[in-house]
Symmetry: C2
Subunit: 194 residues, 2 copies
């Protein structure tokens, strides 16, 4: 797999916004079984090695999981405040649990777990998210979780972009490009009106 042509402007945006830690956050939209969209902020965890797939981490107890099983398509909206540009990345979501059939992806899941901060890891040992608050504060205390082996509810989530919409608000006029995957190694790049 060759590096997709939208990777170069995205890498530039990441570099130019590196002073802002939250420039590595983006919003992921999915669709629920009820047909309604859902939208939440997640953290970019780099690209899966030798691919153009974006890595995200999630909890098997989160709402996203049902959504992905219902509708495999997701769209990331990634806004970079300093350079005033937006990437919209739409494509297939692939959930990697401990029982995924691919050994390579199970290994990738473990590597991402090992690269998390202690506090990020400890959240996977917290009580079930989204249900009535557990009042016992100790339940949320960072645990000395295993740095080697992921907790069973830890999931790696991959988004493989099929289309990318890059908008630069700076410049007069603004600039916008659409990238569409034609085949695994072939992308069509088109300048469009902003």
């Amino acid at each position: 797999m060759s590096v997709a042509p939208w990777r170069s402007p995205l890498a530039r945006a990441l570099h130019n916004n590196r002073a802002l830690p939250y420039a590595r956050y983006f919003q992921l939209a999915t669709v629920g079984a009820n047909g309604y969209p859902a939208n939440r902020t997640v953290v970019f965890r780099g690209f899966l090695e030798n691919t153009n797939q974006l890595q995200i981490v999630t909890d098997s107890r989160s709402q996203k999981i049902n959504h992905i099983q219902h509708q495999h398509w997701g769209e990331i909206c990634w806004y970079f405040p300093k350079t005033r540009e937006q990437f919209r990345l739409g494509g297939n979501l692939n959930l990697v649990t401990a029982s995924h059939t691919s050994q390579g992806l199970r290994d990738a899941r473990q590597i991402v777990w090992q690269e998390l901060s202690d506090s990020a890891r400890s959240q996977f040992a917290w009580p079930e998210p989204g249900v009535a608050r557990v009042e016992d504060e100790a339940a949320f205390s960072p645990l000395p979780s295993d740095r080697e082996q992921p907790l069973p509810n830890f999931c790696l989530l991959l988004l493989e972009p099929i289309q990318v919409d890059h908008l630069q608000l700076r410049g007069n006029p603004q600039n916008r490009w659409l990238y569409q995957q034609q085949s695994p190694d072939q992308w069509l790049k088109q300048a469009v009106n902003p």
Copy 2:
């Protein structure tokens, strides 16, 4: 209509993040006729007077319009970098065009138009968005657009939240609340696990 209980923490977040102009941007997720989610950054234009409805502006030539006609539910994800908190606001989308049946909403559309900056207004006179780039730069030159009367393709888009999920990443442990509308003037507020 009384002011919803999530308005107070949201107003506080807006105030505490006021030094960041992009803290007034959020991501709006919709669903297309193909069942796929779409996600884009939009600008918060305040609340519709005497309501809890968030105002957004959009172009009748944009992709969103078809989406809303297909699926009226949208979800806003609003991340505040300085205070490290997120609001997810899900609810009904209501598109206000020049021919909307409500005189009050047509008036609101005109007021929002008048409050836009000249450069924001001029974008509604640009060539059709998302299609092959018009090479004539003059087509994107700011026009002396009418400040009084909106261009026909200018739309006011309202999102009326039915459920709001407020997550504070600061604090140990994190805090999260769900607000659910029970009836027009009644909201259920519940502390949930982050």
